[in-house]
Assembly symmetry: C2
Homo-oligomer: 150 residues x 2
């Protein structure tokens, strides 16, 4: 396989990103790949925020993965900045290729560059493989993640 590049997402990547978000047992119910308007609006908002890093992994000119890294300053833990990973997706053709690991390692390195003391993420309890995956990368499943839909 060709070299992998992880870079900030642009408008031209939105269709591919939404394709990845929708190609997922949970995402298929939640996304509308036929109407990109709300996604383009969201991308503009992300691009204007220096604490937001929406990236794509590109191989041979194709978007094969994505994740969003948010930098969150805070008072707790002696004013520690933390980062939060959301929306990790890997193209079906790339599963098992190590791309997921490369994406998370990119996020960890970027968090270090931003002087974060902590990286955190949540994973739906139905994603049973994810637990082993994140533990192998050094993450501790120390928390319960709660969500409330408005």
């Amino acid at each position: 396989m060709g070299d992998l590049e992880v870079r900030p997402a642009t408008t031209e990547d939105v269709s591919a990103i939404v394709g990845l978000l929708a190609d997922d047992p949970l995402g298929v119910q939640r996304e509308t790949p036929d109407d990109l308007t709300p996604y383009l609006t969201a991308l503009n908002r992300l691009a204007a925020d220096p604490n937001q890093h929406l990236v794509v992994a590109v191989r041979e000119g194709h978007v094969v993965g994505t994740l969003q890294l948010t930098i969150v300053p805070g008072l707790s833990r002696r004013g520690a900045t933390r980062s939060i990973i959301e929306g990790v997706r890997v193209h079906a053709d790339e599963r098992g290729s190590g791309l997921g690991t490369q994406l998370i390692e990119w996020a960890i390195d970027a968090s270090r560059r931003e002087h974060c003391h902590l990286v955190q993420l949540t994973s739906d309890v139905t994603r049973t493989d994810a637990r082993r995956f994140y533990q192998r990368l050094g993450f501790t499943p120390s928390h319960v993640g709660f969500k409330l839909e408005l």
Copy 2:
């Protein structure tokens, strides 16, 4: 008890906030109430970021609670903005008074005003009371929360 006000935290509140963060089984090992410098630096960073809302609950002139609400735009769920609650603390004298509920309800209302579609938070698995508390407020413990210290 007197009326409660929830308002943005200022420099003058930092000592009281750090006192709340440290008066906690987990926080006591992590905070340094004798050295406020890193907390004041973090407050300045939060105050400059329109997506950050660090608030205090004040009753009769005293800070009795705090939380941090972060607004996170994103592409998934049709470009839905979510909010993340961190650092919820209630003064020991106020436990059982309903203040925790009022703080979370403030965060939910603020999230609606910011057009969020989802409110999320994580709670350490050792905080056994928290699970019932958040479920009573309508949250679903649907996720595993992973953390990696850098």
